[in-house]
């Protein structure tokens, strides 16, 4: 019986891996009424039919089809709802219809950095202010004081006074509301101890559109390259492909806690240049996604120096700046590092991305964010403004929230204490969750896991037995994708295979968020353990003793794997694997 179930599970795994695309949504047939009715003018319809039959384009595919759309759209991979997630959604529906049909009672989405979807509560003060700004008529009512804290009411007034006509329903300046940009600049200055200007802030619908805007500006052709970390958040590879540029990878060193070595940057830069690529910019994600490392100040200085010497734009993805979980590390913005080295606007073009989606607030649905653009000539900034103006402006509610996260309640404010309780509660719980999951992963045979010093993810490495790799290949899947699918089918836990982020050849990982609510973590760990042990038993190479040895060898040999393989990576095109992750 058990054998039968295993076989069935295998077949299901293989089948869902074979299904290259999700089932197509039904195309609405032309309504029956329209079909049965003769067209208003049969003669003219016939004439047009004839005209079409005779026209040169008649034999061509419809104007919008896979054969005729932009090939860059076809090429880029951004399977935010990749196969694993699509499969999870199908299982969820199945569970809904028949709760007894699966060996678990809920799907646990650890694939996506979307805290509120897993039950994280919004920060009360921020939401009070947003609610009041959405309906300013409330501010004139005395009853409002019964529902909202008085400092939220006061803040809503302050914000509305910064908006021309207090009109939150109006398009704003394309760069964002000036008063809010000034407030954000003041927040940056307070954080860094160096001047910041509201004129350098561009408010955007989340950080992703800001990244796209910069790629659009920088990339002229496939001869232009962008240096990006591997593993990386696939926004970068997707955006570079979509804009027709070349993805130039540099590897983070797993052995040193995903360290970013300037020697590696230099090596990859020279290699790209030798292939005729003009490298335009360096992307650094700090704290790292999916790798969770927090860069040391000394390391950041070397990176700044490197960009200055090589004439690269530094694109600093700093959206996890509030998410730090270890005592011995602090977040330092690249701007602060550059200014502390004495570099000014004239020395280094630098873009820092920030978002309301991350941090302790996790307000993903608001699509708020900004980029701070320094070291660019005025004529370049005008071009950024022009591109921003085509979309008119970013959403005003997201703009307001961006200003709030950069200027939260201060000591003495009525909401300060409750705000701090909420904030610290979320951050310390995230730290505990990160630690519990990391320890659990490291306690297992065949898994090694670096600490999550920051961000929202763990990126454990799987040392898979040869037999498991063989089984995956037989199913036509990447070994880590195979593992992730088996995990899902056995436990309902959704993770993203490492191949979606890029990894050193011959290594396998998965990304797991630390976001499930804390009371669920022990159950997740035990379900995970149970699955993993069975999986390892099922695929153990030879006898159990030899497999242990092999697994140990595998661990020690991992550094070698990486160096051997890194040269094989092609420079252009970015990451082409099927499964991806989401912020």
């Amino acid at each position: 019986m058990r054998r039968f179930l295993t076989d069935r599970a295998r077949r299901a795994v293989a089948a869902s891996l074979r299904a290259a695309t999700r089932p197509a949504p039904p195309c609405p047939a032309a309504p029956a009424r329209a079909l049965s009715r003769p067209s208003p003018s049969p003669a003219s319809a016939m004439a047009s039919y004839m005209a079409r039959a005779m026209s040169t384009s008649a034999a061509a595919a419809p104007p919008v089809s896979l054969d005729t759309i932009n090939p860059k759209v076809l090429e880029f991979k951004y399977a935010v709802r990749g196969e694993i997630v699509t499969h999870a959604q199908n299982l969820e529906e199945e569970l809904h219809k028949n709760p007894e049909s699966l060996p678990f009672d809920e799907i646990l989405y650890c694939n996506i950095g979307n805290p509120h979807s897993l039950g994280q509560q919004p920060v009360t003060f921020f939401r009070e202010v947003l609610s009041l700004c959405d309906h300013p008529a409330l501010l004139d009512k005395s009853e409002t004081h019964a529902l909202y804290s008085s400092d939220a009411i006061e803040r809503a007034w302050q914000i509305l006074d910064k908006i021309p006509g207090r009109a939150t329903g109006a398009y704003s300046h394309s760069q964002g509301i000036k008063g809010l940009r000034d407030e954000i600049a003041a927040g940056i200055a307070a954080r860094d101890g160096f001047h910041a200007s509201g004129d350098n802030i561009f408010l955007t619908d989340g950080a992703s559109p800001a990244v796209h805007m910069m790629m659009q500006l920088l990339i002229r052709s496939e001869k232009d390259g962008i240096l990006c970390p591997l593993p990386q958040y696939p926004l970068y590879s997707a955006s570079i492909t979509l804009h027709g540029g070349s993805f130039v990878p540099y590897y983070l060193d797993e052995e040193t806690g995903w360290g970013l070595e300037v020697d590696e940057l230099k090596k990859q830069l020279d290699e790209a240049r030798s292939k005729g690529i003009t490298v335009r910019a360096l992307v650094v994600i700090n704290p790292g996604n999916p790798t969770g490392q927090v860069l040391a100040e000394e390391n950041q200085k070397k990176i700044v120096e490197f960009c200055k010497n090589e004439g690269l734009v530094l694109l600093a993805d700093e959206v996890y700046q509030e998410n730090i979980y270890v005592e011995d590390k602090k977040f330092h913005s690249f701007k602060k590092i550059a200014r502390s080295m004495g570099y000014t606007d004239d020395d280094l073009p630098l873009v820092s991305f920030q978002s309301v989606s991350k941090g302790y607030h996790g307000e993903c649905g608001k699509r708020g964010g900004y980029m701070e653009v320094t070291g660019f000539n005025a004529d370049v900034r005008e071009q950024i403004y022009k591109v921003a103006s085509v979309n008119l402006c970013s959403n005003v509610s997201g703009q307001i929230l961006s200003s709030l996260i950069m200027n939260p309640p201060k000591a003495g404010d009525e909401s300060y204490e409750s705000f701090m309780v909420e904030r610290d509660g979320i951050l310390s719980s995230l730290a505990r969750r990160a630690k519990a999951l990391e320890e659990a992963f490291n306690s297992l045979e065949g898994i090694t896991c670096n600490k999550a010093e920051g961000a929202m993810y763990l990126f454990p490495r799987l040392h898979l037995p040869q037999k498991a790799i063989g089984a995956a290949q037989a199913a036509g899947a990447a070994p880590d994708a195979y593992y992730a699918l088996r995990l899902l089918q056995a436990t309902g836990i959704v993770v993203v295979p490492g191949s979606g982020f890029g990894q050193a050849p011959g290594t396998y990982h998965f990304r797991c968020t630390i976001l499930p609510q804390e009371d669920k973590i022990p159950a997740i760990i035990s379900r995970f353990k149970e699955f993993h042990e069975k999986f390892m038993d099922e695929y153990r190479d030879g006898s159990s003793t030899s497999s242990k040895t092999e697994s140990v060898e595998d661990k020690t040999g991992s550094g070698g794997d990486k160096t051997a393989g890194s040269g094989d990576k092609t420079v252009s095109g970015g990451d082409k694997t099927e499964s991806g992750g989401d912020k």
Binding site: S39, A45, I69, N70, R127, D134, D205
Partner: protein
Amino acid sequence: MGRKGLDYEDLNENVKKVQYAVRGELYLRASELQKEGKRIIFTNVGNPHALGQKPLTFPRQVVALCQAPFLLDDPNVGLIFPADAIARAKHYLAMAPGGLGAYSDSRGIPGVRKEVAEFIQRRDGYPSDPELIYLTDGASKGVMQMLNAIIRNGRDGILVPVPQYPLYSAAISLFGGSLVPYYLDEEANWGLDLVNTRQSVAAARSNGITIRAMVIINPGNPTGQCLSEANLKEILNFCYQENLVLLADEVYQQNVYQDERPFISSRKVLFDMGGPISREVQLVSFHTVSKGYWGECGQRGGYFEMTNIPPKTVDEIYKVASIALSPNVPGQIFMGLMMSPPKPGDISYPKFATESKSILDSLRRRAQIMTDGFNSCRNVVCNFTEGAMYSFPQIRLPQRAMDTARSAGKEPDVFYCLKLLEATGISTVPGSGFGQKEGVFHLRTTILPAEEDMPAIMSSFKKFNDSFMEQYQDYSKL
């Protein structure tokens, strides 16, 4: 390294080519004058709340509650929120697990897309599939997603009406495609002339351009015309013959100010036509919360609906949508509310109906005041604003004005609009920003200034215009 990583010379050429007049020279000059303390009447952008239009109460109540869901448990909530707003907030929060703070499906919240589909079915009489409706951060984002998916290179052409809303020219430049203009006929109330369109197509093809898509804006921006059913049929037939996808910008569908030609959607006309056309012509229709009597521009809410697009292509467009993760959730809820506003019998219905009717009635009166005002001016002729939010008068500039403008290095209409701005504080957009026939000049104003200010604005315009015409009247008449 002497150069920095990003000098102007090193920018993507497509970015540099983009022109976006709505926020161009005139707007910048107006902002300067405003800083100097001059009173500026901004009529350059269709941005109703910026000119004092008040938001509709009910949708704001619902979104305020969704922002602060903890209020729903507060016994005092009923003091300031009506019961139907509370119920509706719960309805949307139930649709959006994680509330306003969670990324939604990249295509939008399924429940809201269903409300959109139901609206479309009520409007057109044909069923609509929520799977083919994608919510977006405003209609502009949707247009850009579609053009990004369509345009492969500089030999792909998009047919765009001239005068046009410059979003289209900007997005086509940005994606490296070719804009193929077709001229609207001012003499025929900005109607679409297919003979002329066919000539444009033939000319473009002889230059090696593959025409991929046709854009229509109905009601028209900046031209304000409402297309007739017969005209829409011709357009759909044309797209069928020429194998073009029709991109129907229908964001002004609530803004109609005459009764002879109510808004009719391209989709309804397509399905009414029946036969192979209705099954084969590919159509993408765009809508937004920024226009109508809502005017909620700052929310960035919108959707597009795809008809006859193959499922695999729909998946690719899903992928394009997914890189922005999801449209903003408050904007999605506004979209849902616009699609299913309060109904007769609901507590909030009377107030909602009064507010929306008063906005629409006033817009209709303002459209009339503005058209009449322009037509009373010397050398100005203006078609009636049948719909949308703009007036697009033709300014017949005397030769002397044109000569003076050119010697100052300005397009004649830019020269006129700058003078108008300096003299009256009225900030308009010159017709050259939208495209116009050679030697013919226009300006665009919105009809959005407050109704009570309208007579004064029109009389200050007239005073300026008539003295301008006096000053520059042709040599022969001197």
